[in-house]
């Protein structure tokens, strides 16, 4: 990317690696916890199972071996006395020994003691009476109270000790059975089971974790790619890959703040390609897109680090060029312009593209990006209207842009409220002073500001496109007024100024035709004045429209001829009835031989083309006389009449005396 910044990188999402690491760590916790919980429970269950097994075994021993012996014999049931007091009969003792000895010998029972509640040993596997659990032991106490207790003792091998209450078949508890059973085998088996389960659980969880991890990795990668795409798309133009309007605003604003902080100058430049629409229309959008790509590449080739190039939309580009003075900026843009205008081949058609550059410099033209852009825009439009293609904003004359917005808004209302009025300035035949045509000039009767001169609002209207309805309004009103003076017996034609913008609106000739029909005006009594810059734009289209209008019979006049930039070839293609010589030349004819030469040439040129030559800005009798001598056809100016409402136009213009006449008068 062209745009590289040292500081203030645009915010980036966490890298996919970091996100994945977070994921992995976060999912490891529940997986490990689950594993630990399962294993802990399993271990606990296994131990519990072992104890339950020991307990069950002891109970079976108590019921099958001990209780029958105790119940045997014909002895009276106990009277509140337990085994401690009563002991066993000889027969019971023998029977008990017979019932247990094999199990003891085989090791199925390790130790066995029959004890009274006082702890006295009534019977033991080896005949001893002094050993055994102390009476104070909680397990002994619990068994004496009817609750069996089990304990795993880990010595050389593991042994399980069961303290079991001894019940007679009446349900009476008579003592405690203390029995030791081998537990090693059970423990080993349980251990093996636990180990086996541990392996399975750990393996399963590991696989699960792996799958989760892969999923997480895949997901985070997709997500971060998607996010990066989204971010890029949100800030970049898809066609050229350049930053878009949003990105330009954000990044240029940041860069501007930095530059201002460092007190470095720079420029904001708006660029508009000329005749891009033409390429799009004639060669197709594909060629237009290709052109934009080529243009972007050519821009890039000249820009340096820290410069920002953005495509604002359509054929509009913006540049932020920090660290350059005005002249340096202009030099750079000239380079770019030259590079841009190099010939390129699109769909086999060789063409070269030109662009208008509007430059606003900071800090002198503003310290806010919005202001700078507006000023660059103003400068660019000035360039489009004039001849220069690289224009630095100059405060004079066109610093009204902000004011323009207000004017535009008010003008819109003015049109609706009918605050506009038409004044008319006569054009006379130089030879006899007869008024031939009234030029309609619009005035604004502003409710607060009074009569506003056209210079105060027409540029704003032109700039905003409001000129189109305005012209239409003028045209309609002028034709209506003409009906008025016709009724008053005057046969003056009317001329109306038409903006280049009007010519671009489809159906303009049809509108003219319909207005003529509405008012019943013969077409030859209408003249449309077109500035020569209107012709300089999209010449072919403009020429076509003008030809259409001329075909109606409407007269075409070229306004301000000589002040702008016109290729003479335009005059060859357009049917022109009148050429109006710009006041700049006319006012100088007396003093400046060069102006005289030009005016004479234009008059000749007009006549050569079969057109009338009309001089504008005729303010003195001297000039008038000179023009008569030079062969000019018509004249317009303060000398003849200022713009006034049509009823005030004087029908006759008294011819100034010729030079000889004035001499005579002087004598």
């Amino acid at each position: 990317m062209l745009f590289r910044r040292v500081r203030r990188r645009p915010p980036r999402a966490r890298s996919s690696t970091r996100l994945f690491a977070t994921y992995a760590a976060a999912s490891l916790v529940p997986v490990v916890a689950l594993g630990a919980l399962v294993l802990h429970d399993y271990r606990h269950d296994a131990a519990e199972q072992g104890r339950a097994q020991g307990l069950a075994q002891a109970e079976v021993i108590a019921q099958t071996a001990i209780a029958p012996a105790l119940n045997s014999g014909d002895w009276p049931p106990l009277g509140g006395a337990d085994l401690s007091r009563r002991g066993l009969t000889g027969a019971q003792f023998e029977r008990m020994r017979d019932a247990t000895q094999l199990a003891l010998y085989d090791g199925a029972i390790q130790r066995l003691r029959l004890r009274g509640f006082t702890g006295r040993v009534i019977f033991s596997d080896d005949g001893s009476t002094s050993s055994g659990v102390p009476v104070s032991d909680p397990d002994f106490q619990a068994a004496a109270a009817g609750q069996a207790r089990v304990l795993v003792i880990t010595g050389r091998t593991q042994t399980i000790r069961v303290m079991q209450p001894l019940f007679l078949n009446t349900g009476q508890s008579v003592g405690v059975l203390e029995v030791y059973l081998p537990y090693q085998e059970i423990a080993d088996r349980l251990q093996a089971q636990v180990l086996h389960t541990t392996r399975n659980v750990a393996g399963g969880l590991a696989v699960l974790y792996l799958v989760l991890g892969l999923l997480a990795w895949w997901t985070t990668r997709s997500l971060s790619r998607y996010a990066a795409d989204q971010r890029h798309n949100a800030l970049h133009d898809a066609l050229t890959g350049l930053p878009n309007r949003v990105a330009f605003r954000v990044w240029a604003e940041a860069a501007l703040a930095e530059s201002l902080e460092d007190e470095r100058p720079g420029a904001v430049v708006l660029v508009d390609l000329n005749r891009f629409k033409e390429v799009n229309d004639t060669l197709g959008h594909h060629a237009g897109d290709e052109l934009l790509r080529i243009v972007s590449d050519r821009f890039r080739a000249r820009l340096g680090e820290g410069d920002i190039l953005a495509r604002l939309g359509g054929d509009e580009f913006a540049l932020f060029l920090p660290g350059r003075t005005g002249p340096e900026t202009v030099a750079l843009l000239e380079e770019i312009r030259d590079r841009l205008s190099e010939e390129m081949v699109l769909d086999g058609v060789p063409l070269s593209i030109e662009a208008s550059f509007g430059i606003a410099l900071f800090p002198e033209h503003g310290e806010h990006l919005q202001d700078l852009k507006q000023r660059a825009d103003t400068a660019m439009y000035q360039g489009k209207r004039g001849t220069a293609d690289i224009v630095v904003y100059s405060g004079d004359g066109i610093s009204h842009s902000q004011q323009w917005l207000v004017v535009q808004a008010e003008l819109r209302h003015a049109l609706e409220r009918d605050e506009l009025v038409l004044h008319y300035q006569p054009k006379v035949n130089l030879a006899d002073g007869e008024v031939r045509t009234l030029e309609a000039l619009v005035r604004w009767q502003h409710p607060q500001r009074g009569l506003v001169p056209p210079g105060a609002f027409l540029p704003a209207a032109e700039h905003s496109g409001l000129i189109v309805p305005l012209t239409e309004w003028v045209l309609r009103r002028a034709l209506t007024d003409q009906v008025g003076w016709f009724a008053a017996g005057q046969r003056w034609a009317v001329s109306v100024n038409v903006s280049a913008r009007n010519l671009e609106v489809p159906g303009f000739p049809a509108l003219v035709a319909s207005l003529l029909a509405e008012t019943g005006t013969p077409a030859r009594r209408l003249v449309l004045e077109v500035t020569e810059t209107a012709l300089a734009g999209d010449e072919e289209a403009a020429a076509r429209v003008i030809a259409e209008i001329a075909a109606l019979g409407v007269g075409i006049s070229v306004d301000d001829f000589g002040a702008g930039f016109t290729s003479l070839s335009h005059l060859r293609e357009v049917p022109v009835d009148e050429i109006k010589i710009d006041r700049g030349f006319v006012s100088d004819v007396i003093d400046d031989p060069r102006s005289r030469a030009i005016v004479r040439s234009v008059i000749d040129l007009a006549h050569g083309l079969g057109s009338r030559a009309t001089a504008e800005g005729v303010e003195t009798a001297e000039i008038y006389r000179w023009l008569v001598d030079a062969g000019c056809d018509e004249a317009q100016g303060y000398l003849i009449g200022r713009p006034v409402p049509w009823p005030h136009v004087s029908a006759e213009f008294e011819l100034p005396k010729t030079a000889s006449e004035s001499e005579r008068a002087a004598r």
């Binding site: 002895w75 009277g79 009817g146 009446t170 349900g171 508890s173």
Partner: protein
Amino acid sequence: MTLLRRTIAATGVALLLAAGGCTRAESTVQAGALDVTGTVMMDQELHDRLPEVIRAKGFIRFVTDASYAPMEYFAADGRTIIGFEPDLAAALGEVLGIKVEMVVGAFSTALDEVSAGAYDGVFSSMTDTKERQQKADFVDYFSTGTSILVQRGNVKGIAELDDLCGHSVATEKGTYQEQMLQRVRKECGAEGMRIHSRGTNADALVELRTGRVSAVLQDYPPASFLATDERTSAFFQLASDHQYETGLFGIAVAKDNTALRDCLHAALGRLIASGTYADLLARWELSASAVTEATVNAG
């Protein structure tokens, strides 16, 4: 009704307290009734009438064979005797104002031991018979008959006492049922009957459970308990609902100990009158076997 009695009792106590003439004897004129907390109240007069010896030693000791649920049997701990009789004994002790102990002993020798003075009485579901009245006086507290208990399914098809002929039958040694069996055997003729008299009721039931005998003869309450209790109902059932030779259970007291007999008689009367007796029976689901009044040697 109980509430009314309690109210009267409480009011009486309150009035006496208010009069300032409170003595223990006077405050317990309602002996055998319940106090406000539901405790049986002591009767000082009856206490005073207890034999000197008993008052001196401070307790009455009854012998019982605790293998006769729900009348008297061992709790799960194998040490505590529970059942209707221990509860009734305790209630009697409350009225008499003396501790009552239940001690485990052999049923068959119990009467002799009482005569010998080892115990103050037998309180062990003992049927009051004329024969036994030779050895002891009975304070009768319970009315029931005898039932035939057989294995669940009754494959031997025993329905009547006569059906027992030709079978082995078990019972507890020295019981009324042992005598009944001996009488039935006489009618059996050539078929005969093998009677297994065992030291405890539990021994007899073990023989029925393991198929060594076809039936066990015992009093209706424990037989019914066995046939309905969830731990034993899978193995035992009643041959029929009929109760044979209905009789009275009595607390056997030595014949020369009339003072104790009369005290127990009076105390029992108080418990019956106060409703405590009925309440205790209801707790053990034995209400059908209630007696309406306390009697002596009525069997």
